[in-house]
């Protein structure tokens, strides 16, 4: 047990992370930046999932992206006339990947809607049925088609954020700018921010007041499918860094933490980004110290921040609730109201 937790070495854990070349990896700042970009992008989209009570649809889409990718790659491979080897190494363009993810998101959304609307099965069960069948389908398709490549299991669920600094650098005008994944993720983050700014009103109104949205001529179905499609793009971009399951943490935890601190949506967005930055930096240090998976450590840090806010939040933290109960008597418990626009 004692071998498991290494001693805490300030120089190694905190300082060398930012200054040197640790353990054969490149500059770990890139990892932190990548973690921040992933968490911030996911968190921004996740805010809307939380507001619309669709947090678990995010869970579903992050799983069902797998068959989407599998089918897209296999189709692309067939179009290119390649064999299994080529499928797993040759054809992998972002277009194919995003198309696969989009297809998966649309299929998932439709399947959930159909099961939910056409039968008396509730939405939660519909989500469970949908994502588990699609994930199983993805696994079966992969084991039928994708040859016999020998690669370890880590990557399926956990991503490769650790190797970001060693990735190919994007070169513009002869100067190395940043590793490829960071540049791509920054692009996705930028587009996400732009989309939120452009469609702020539509997203806001349709999330809080569907009736008002309808009277303003906002098509709720279009907004729903648009959000789901963009969610799939974000998920597939984050997938690379943190894997299928930890994406859910990135989607939900920042927004949920922020919602404990404020009731205004713009503030919630800002706090989401702060939370993303903190959890990515803290997570990186945690991973340096414990020598564990960086992606998992970032999610642990995010959860830790949530727990801290849950306990210490000035407006409705556990301590505050306890104090209030002591002052005002037991019947006046925390009147928790929803976030307001």
């Amino acid at each position: 047990m004692n071998d498991l937790i290494p001693p805490f070495d300030w120089q190694y854990v905190v300082v060398s992370t930012w200054t040197g070349n640790v353990g054969g990896y490149g500059w770990l700042g890139w990892t932190a930046l990548m973690g921040f970009l992933v968490a911030a992008t996911c968190g921004l989209v996740g805010n809307y999932l939380i507001l619309r009570r669709m947090a678990l649809v995010g869970d579903a889409i992050s799983h069902s992206v797998l068959p989407g990718l599998a089918v897209a790659f296999i189709l692309a491979g067939m179009a290119g006339g390649g064999d299994a080897e080529e499928i797993s190494h040759g054809v992998r363009s972002p277009t194919v990947m995003f198309l696969g993810a989009l297809g998966a998101a649309v299929v998932t959304t439709i399947m959930i809607e159909v099961i939910h609307k056409k039968t008396r099965v509730k939405q939660d069960a519909a989500i469970g049925i949908t994502f588990s069948s699609l994930f199983a389908l993805g696994v079966v398709i992969i084991s039928l088609f994708a040859g016999k490549a020998h690669i370890d299991t880590e990557c399926v669920l956990h991503g490769e954020i650790t190797f970001v600094p060693d990735d190919l650098f994007v070169v513009i005008g002869g100067r190395e700018i940043a590793p490829g994944p960071v540049v791509r993720m920054a692009g996705v983050a930028g587009v996400t921010a732009l989309l939120i700014v452009f469609f702020y009103k539509e997203l806001l109104v349709s999330s809080f007041d569907p009736g008002l949205a309808a009277s303003l001529g906002i098509n709720a179905t279009v907004v729903h499918y648009g959000l789901m499609s963009w969610l799939s793009v974000v998920v597939v971009s984050a997938f690379e860094a943190v894997g299928a399951i930890l994406v859910i943490a990135m989607l939900i935890i920042p927004g949920a933490t922020a919602s404990l601190l404020t009731r205004r949506l713009p503030w919630m967005m800002g706090l989401t980004i702060v939370h993303a930055a903190l959890s990515s930096v803290l997570g990186l240090h945690l991973a340096m110290w414990l020598e564990c998976s960086v992606a998992a450590a970032m999610c642990v840090a995010a959860s830790g921040l949530f727990v801290a806010v849950w306990i210490f939040s000035p407006s409705e933290g556990l301590i505050r609730q306890w104090l209030r109960r002591r002052v005002e008597g037991p019947e006046e418990s925390s009147a928790a109201t929803a976030v307001q626009p």
């Binding site: 947090a55 992998r92 084991s143 690379e240 935890i253 409705e316």
Partner: protein, 506 residues
């Protein structure tokens, strides 16, 4: 924009060398795809290269020990998950299973750390504790904050999983760290189910079945009417937590067979299929357990048949197939049956409207002659003759009318006549009822009567007739056919001698 490898940044780690060899950085996705076959090495019929028939024979003779264990495990799992899933689905807690299955990972890791072996009991205890903690965290978050249950489930799911994954990824540095045992919990390994696992599964299944049958009434009342249960001083929280404990047990044993991601399918899908087929809880539980067993067995069989296919996902797909069948062909709630019922209902309404038109056409000429031409029918309904011909053939197909003369005329059969009278009677009685009892203007009652004439039952009509004191004419002054008139045929209406149609008394 050009890409080139950054020099001097790449270490000598094997995994990294592999990554470096990729030209584009989308390797990770391909790793996702490529690594699946090796990590899902949980096929039962892995080692043999035989024909499908041979494999089927091997399957049904149960010669292989590993197959016997896998099948037994799948069946036990089906019973267990089916029973608990029934409660989860009706309580809208379906995704609790999903959350728990991810939340047990830290428990699995710590159970493994206990003595650095894959000791089923230590892992079982650790995982159950972690699962219960997860369930408690969900209810703590939803009770003390404004965060909704879905977000709370998602946070517990991913947060606990991250902690668990952190711990397991630290094993890599330990010399004794045999991570293989842990990895199987992510995807399940039905082929590796051994005697100890079966014993554990049997114990858990027996406990579940006992608990559910002994406390059936209690679980029922807490599931369907928690407020009533609380009001009668019933310890609802105790039963809720008991259910969560059973759920944690079954999630842990299911991990071995189907893995973390797919456990939720074993809990939800059979139960949701059963939910589509029945309204009674005890039948739902029985059916759901049956479906669980069937899908487990089918999954095991399929993966045995075709070596190279993983068992867990096939079990899930079999469950989805069952759900699809229930979704389409369920007798009460199935989509096809509903569509069929709707269709036949609309056809019946159409036929009845045609009958009414025939009756009105006859009435127009004071029931002279018994045949109605298609042209008359078409004019009556303000439709084309083609349309009228189609409706006439629908009547003929259903034995409500026969063709007469050159085929351009139809005559009602006795049943057709009776049905036509009934519809007209329903319509006119209802109009009269609305004007007399509800004081609706006479020119506003037709539309409503058009709709209700098809659904009024015999008893209700008699009741209305009695209320209206056996009135003879409707608000528009037309006669309402009475039961006697119907029996005697239309001739009785006006006291004529020449009787009309097949409705005349024999």
């Amino acid at each position: 924009m050009a890409l080139r490898a950054a020099p001097g940044l790449v270490g000598g780690v094997g995994a990294m060398a592999r990554l470096r060899s990729g030209v584009l950085a989308f390797c990770a996705y391909l790793l996702v795809l490529g690594c699946a076959p090796s990590c899902f090495a949980d096929r039962i019929g892995d080692l043999t290269e035989t024909s499908v028939v041979d494999q089927a024979v091997r399957f049904f003779t149960f010669r292989d020990e590993s197959l016997r264990y896998a099948l037994l495990g799948a069946i036990l799992l089906g019973v267990n998950c089916g029973l608990l899933g029934g409660f989860m689905v009706v309580r809208k807690l379906s995704l609790m299973g999903d959350a728990l299955s991810h939340a047990v990972l830290p428990g699995v890791a710590i159970g493994f750390l206990w003595n650095m072996t894959k000791d089923p009991l230590a892992i079982f205890v650790g995982a159950t504790i972690a699962g219960l903690l997860g369930a408690l965290t969900v209810s703590a978050i939803t009770h003390t904050t404004k965060i909704k249950e879905d977000a709370a489930l998602g946070m517990v799911l991913s947060g606990y999983f991250a902690v668990g994954y952190c711990i397991t990824s630290m094993f890599g540095r330990l010399e004794t760290g045999n991570k293989a045992g842990i990895d199987h919990f992510l995807f399940g390994q039905a082929a590796a189910i051994n005697r100890d696992d079966i014993v554990l599964m049997s114990v858990v299944t027996v406990v579940t079945v006992l608990c559910v049958s002994v406390f059936y009434k209690e679980f029922l009342v807490t599931s369907f009417d928690a407020a009533f249960a609380r009001a009668t001083g019933f310890p609802t929280m105790l039963f809720h937590n008991g259910l969560m404990l059973l759920l944690a047990f079954s999630v842990v044993i299911a991990l071995q067979a189907v893995g973390v991601v797919l456990v939720s399918a074993m809990l939800i899908t059979p139960a949701a299929s059963a939910y589509l087929l029945t309204d009674r809880m005890h039948r739902l539980l029985t059916l759901s357990a049956l479906f669980g067993v069937a899908t487990g067995a089918i999954g095991a069989f399929l993966s045995f048949l075709e070596s190279g296919l993983p068992t867990g996902p096939l079990m899930v797909l079999a469950a989805t197939l069952v759900f699809g069948m229930a979704f389409l062909f369920g007798p009460r709630h199935g989509v096809l049956m509903r569509w069929w019922r709707q269709r036949s209902r609309s056809h019946r309404v159409q036929r009845e409207n045609t009958l009414k038109a025939v009756y009105q056409a006859l009435e127009r000429r004071n029931f002279k002659g018994e045949s109605v031409t298609l042209l008359e029918l078409a004019q009556r309904r303000r439709e084309t003759e083609e349309e009228a011909r189609r409706q006439a053939s629908a009547l003929i197909r259903n034995g409500l009318a026969t063709r007469h003369g050159t085929g351009e005329q139809i005559v009602l059969t006795p049943e057709g006549w009776l049905r036509a009278c009934e519809i007209v009677r329903n319509h006119r009685l209802w109009e009269l009822y609305l004007t007399n009892a509800a004081h609706i203007a006479a020119d506003h009652v037709h539309e409503d009567a058009e709709k209700i004439e098809h659904v009024l039952g015999e008893d209700v009509v008699r009741q209305i007739e009695r209320r209206l004191d056996f009135a003879k004419t409707d608000p528009h002054g037309r006669p309402i056919p009475s039961i006697d008139d119907m029996r005697r045929g239309a001739g009785g209406l006006f006291g004529r001698d020449e009787l009309v149609g097949y409705g005349r008394p024999t």
